[in-house]
């Protein structure tokens, strides 16, 4: 933008200066913050009763419906997706871009400009101790100054101009660009978010063990195709001892494409599966008792080899090498004993799965007992050791499904932001000038310096520089 144009005050100039103004920045910052606060109070994308109940607490029951109607009309019930909130974010982005473009040329000039010798006035207010007189001629003293600078991590250069000798050293000139890198990263994140909103889709999928699906339920309630089929082979959940807190849960998933199994992978919380741009996250699980589920046992009769059996509810199997048969008569996902010694089921998930079996010999029931998956001493039966391994097909895995082509740009933006912040806050532009002035058989070295941040640490370094120069005296 050419500065001489601004006098004409064309429409474009006015729009430009509107977006470049600090006032706009303040207004946009405040608007985003204040509306966001409202957005955290009003429950987003929720059933209207929840919010009406909440509003009734604040405004009274009589006006709650009216207030809700107004808020709903204004988009506050789903404000982070509303046109005006997105417009605010857009204004924020425009403001950021145009302010950066306005200031970049000045900074760029500063960054491109190599360090120049300092005028006499720059050395005027030399602080005490920042001046050293050494016994050497100017050339030697200059070299000694370069060496001393090297000791504090600076690369010095002797410059002669108009009979004056100065040693110049500079560091981190490009750190002045850190703030622009940070601004760019915000833009990248916003662009990635827009791509995600436009081309991405999010939803969920519940799969019972052994079943598969080629669609998932989108957040808007519609089904969307995955482009392949996903099957849940198995689901396992483990709990912390003596508690209902889940310790870990995981699913084994298989991707089927054109009738062929392409990929089998175990996923868990914090460990998703990605296939063809669609990512599946382990989010919930549940217990769904049904007659198709299979009870899996491992049977070890006295005189026969171990054998695996699986059967449905109320089914039975014959124990090899005996004439006894075992029937599944009852099941509890979470068996417990109360203080009176009665058995009961204490939870709806498979915390302590137990199966009740009837063992009969020659058609007559011989004994009945509970076999618990997690307690091996309950596996002993008159027909040998019967291990209850799993109830397969009665648990479902709850998956979050997401397809977001913009997420990589967001990640890139995050990386750029981390780099930009590091440069902007932890690096600084430091410049040192040492004036070399020959006086008879001695040379006077005067230090001047400037830094744009972290002044105190820099001062310590300058003290060290002076001390290094002092050492060369002898």
């Amino acid at each position: 933008m050419d500065k001489t144009d601004t006098g004409k005050n064309s429409i474009i100039d006015r729009i430009w200066s509107f977006f470049a103004s600090v006032k706009l920045a303040v207004i946009v910052f405040s608007c985003i913050s204040l509306t966001s606060i409202v957005g955290t109070i009003i429950e987003q994308q929720a059933a209207s009763e929840n919010n009406i109940k909440l509003l009734a607490k604040i405004f009274g029951i009589s006006s709650a419906h009216t207030v809700y109607g107004v808020l709903d009309y204004l988009g506050f019930t789903d404000m982070f997706n509303s046109w005006w909130f997105i417009a605010l974010l857009f204004l924020f982005a425009m403001n950021l871009v145009i302010c950066s473009i306005e200031r970049l040329p000045v900074t760029w000039k500063l960054v491109r400009q190599p360090q120049k010798p300092l005028g006499a006035e720059g050395f005027g207010a030399g602080s005490p101790g920042r001046e050293v007189v050494i016994k050497a001629n100017a050339e030697n003293a200059g070299n000694k100054a370069v060496e001393a600078l090297k000791k504090i991590g600076f690369k010095g250069e002797v410059v002669k101009s108009e009979g004056l000798v100065q040693v110049l050293a500079e560091k981190g000139r490009y750190s002045r660009l850190g703030v622009y890198v940070t601004h760019l990263s915000i833009l990248l994140i916003l662009i990635g978010a827009v791509i995600g909103l436009k081309y991405g889709v999010g939803g969920s999928l519940k799969l019972l063990e052994g079943t598969s699906s080629s669609t998932a339920r989108a957040n808007n309630g519609k089904d969307f195709p995955l482009g392949f089929e996903l099957r849940c082979d198995d689901f396992e959940v483990s709990f912390y001892p003596e508690s209902e807190r889940p310790k870990d849960y995981k699913s084994i998933l298989t991707v089927i494409e054109n009738g062929r199994e392409v990929l089998t992978q175990e996923i868990g919380v914090n460990n998703p599966l990605t296939y063809k741009g669609v990512t599946f996250y382990q989010s919930t699980y549940g217990f769904f008792p049904n007659r198709e589920a299979l009870f899996k046992f491992s049977v070890m009769p006295m005189n026969s080899p171990r054998e695996d059996v699986s059967l449905k509810f109320e089914g039975s199997f014959k124990v090899p090498g005996t004439n006894m048969s075992v029937k599944v008569a009852d099941f509890s996902p979470a068996l417990a004993v109360n203080s009176k010694g009665d058995l009961f089921t204490f939870a709806e998930s498979m915390i302590n799965p137990a199966v009740f079996v009837e063992i009969s010999e020659g058609g007559k029931v011989k004994s009945r007992q509970w076999i618990l998956k997690n307690y091996s001493d309950t596996w002993r039966t008159p027909a040998g050791v019967i291990e209850f391994k799993d109830l397969w097909g009665a648990q479902y895995t709850g998956l979050q499904v997401r397809k977001d082509p913009g997420v990589w740009i967001v990640y890139l933006g995050c990386l750029v932001m981390a780099i930009g912040l590091y440069i902007a806050f932890f690096m600084s532009h430091a410049r040192i000038w040492i004036r070399v002035k020959e006086e008879k058989d001695k040379t006077r070295l005067t230090i001047a310096a400037s830094i744009n941040k972290n002044r105190i640490a820099f001062d310590h370094r300058l003290d060290r520089l002076a001390a290094e120069l002092e050492k060369t005296k002898s």
């Binding site: 913050s33 966001s36 955290t40 999010g202 919380v269 914090n270 998703p272 979050q400 499904v401």
Partner: protein
């Protein structure tokens, strides 16, 4: 020896250090100052060992490896770590600025916090983690957020001190602002202490504590009279701070701190806290959320309020750098920044989750 022994040593050391720092202010003796710093360092080292031991205990119980066992999952541990960060920050300031003036302020906060935690029933009960928290991101995200919170907390204190030494007129906005802030803050701290003593809750998860216990003995009491009395006392605190703000001003002035130094410390702490908060709190949080829940940003209240913190401090930095704001204006911004931070930590869970059913980390 287990971690609580070392935390006990640290508590005693901080309280002794407080005495030494006050004596230092009174007598200005060189040796007293060295002794105060030494005792603080002993407390700090002891607390560090305690923290490391607790980390090991946690990993042994959880069985999840060291990286995933950082002991920062309940209120007790969070407060201990917060105290640790503040003492570390203080020691760095003492070293850089070569002043012991803040010691008399900081060590009592550290000592009293640790003492309250142990009175409140330390019960080194270690709670196992739910699967969503079993991630390597936990360590980076939580520790960096806390370091940033601690930096903001100290900047809040120095900004308040700046306002205190810089305002005299009881009718001016900055005076009312800083005295009201101190009054509200002191009132809230006293109320929390009462919670700790009466309800014995230190070992709960911070989520559960904030929702079910915080201010239950005072502002959120079941008895209307207690609630009313609590709010009246809060008003009393504000009035006292306003009425006797001048005495506080003289006290701070007697520590021989200059306004320039206070402003410089405030700025530098925010300049350190802001990038750490952005990277550790926002970016690592987003990456973790992306891996655990499949959404890097979902505008939940905690995230939204973190973004507001970010906006306030970004505004502070730009106002100072680009607009050249100095003095009371910028100090007020720094105070607001930490108030928003406190609201994000406590208020979001207390008020917003009380109304809704937000869970999660």
């Amino acid at each position: 020896m287990d971690s609580s022994v070392f935390f006990g040593v640290a508590t005693i050391a901080y309280i002794l250090a407080m005495v030494a720092y006050i004596a230092y202010l009174a007598f200005r003796g060189g040796m007293v100052g060295v002794a105060a710093t030494t005792v603080t360092i002993i407390g700090f080292v002891s607390q560090t060992i305690g923290f490391g031991l607790r980390w090991k205990e946690f990993s042994a119980i959880g069985g999840m490896g060291l990286l995933r066992s950082v002991p920062l999952t309940n209120l007790y541990e969070s407060l201990v770590f917060f105290v640790w960060c503040i003492i570390l920050g203080y020691l760095i300031i003492e070293w850089i600025y070569k002043t012991r003036s803040f010691g008399a302020f900081v060590t009592p906060i550290a000592g009293i916090t640790l003492a309250f935690i142990s009175i409140g029933g330390v019960s080194a009960e270690i709670q196992p983690l739910v699967p969503a928290l079993q991630s390597n991101w936990l360590l980076a995200h939580v520790t960096m957020s806390f370091i940033a919170y601690a930096a903001f907390a100290i900047s809040f204190a120095t900004a308040l001190m700046y306002l205190a030494v810089n305002t005299e007129d009881r009718r001016s906005f900055p005076y009312i602002f800083w005295t009201a802030t101190i009054g509200l803050f002191a009132g809230a701290l006293v109320a929390m202490s009462i919670d700790f003593i009466t309800l014995k809750i230190a070992a709960r998860s911070s989520q559960a504590f904030i929702q079910n216990y915080l201010f239950k003995a005072t502002f959120r009491s079941e008895y209307a009279a207690v609630t009313a009395a609590s709010f009246a006392s809060l008003g009393g605190f504000v009035f006292l701070a306003w009425r006797y703000g001048d005495a506080l001003r003289k006290l701070i002035l007697s520590f021989s701190v200059t306004p320039d130094m206070l402003e410089d410390i405030t700025y530098r702490l925010i300049a350190i806290g802001f990038p750490i908060f952005t990277i550790g709190g926002l970016i690592f949080g987003a990456v973790w959320a992306d891996q655990a829940w499949g959404k890097y940003w979902s505008w939940d209240p905690k995230e939204t309020w973190s973004l507001i913190i970010w906006f306030v401090y970004a505004f502070y930095l730009h106002a100072r750098q680009m607009r050249g704001w100095r003095g009371n204006k910028i100090a007020v911004l720094a105070v607001i920044g930490f108030a928003v931070t406190m609201f994000t930590y406590l208020g979001v869970n207390l008020l917003l989750s009380g109304l809704h059913s937000y869970g999660g980390a």
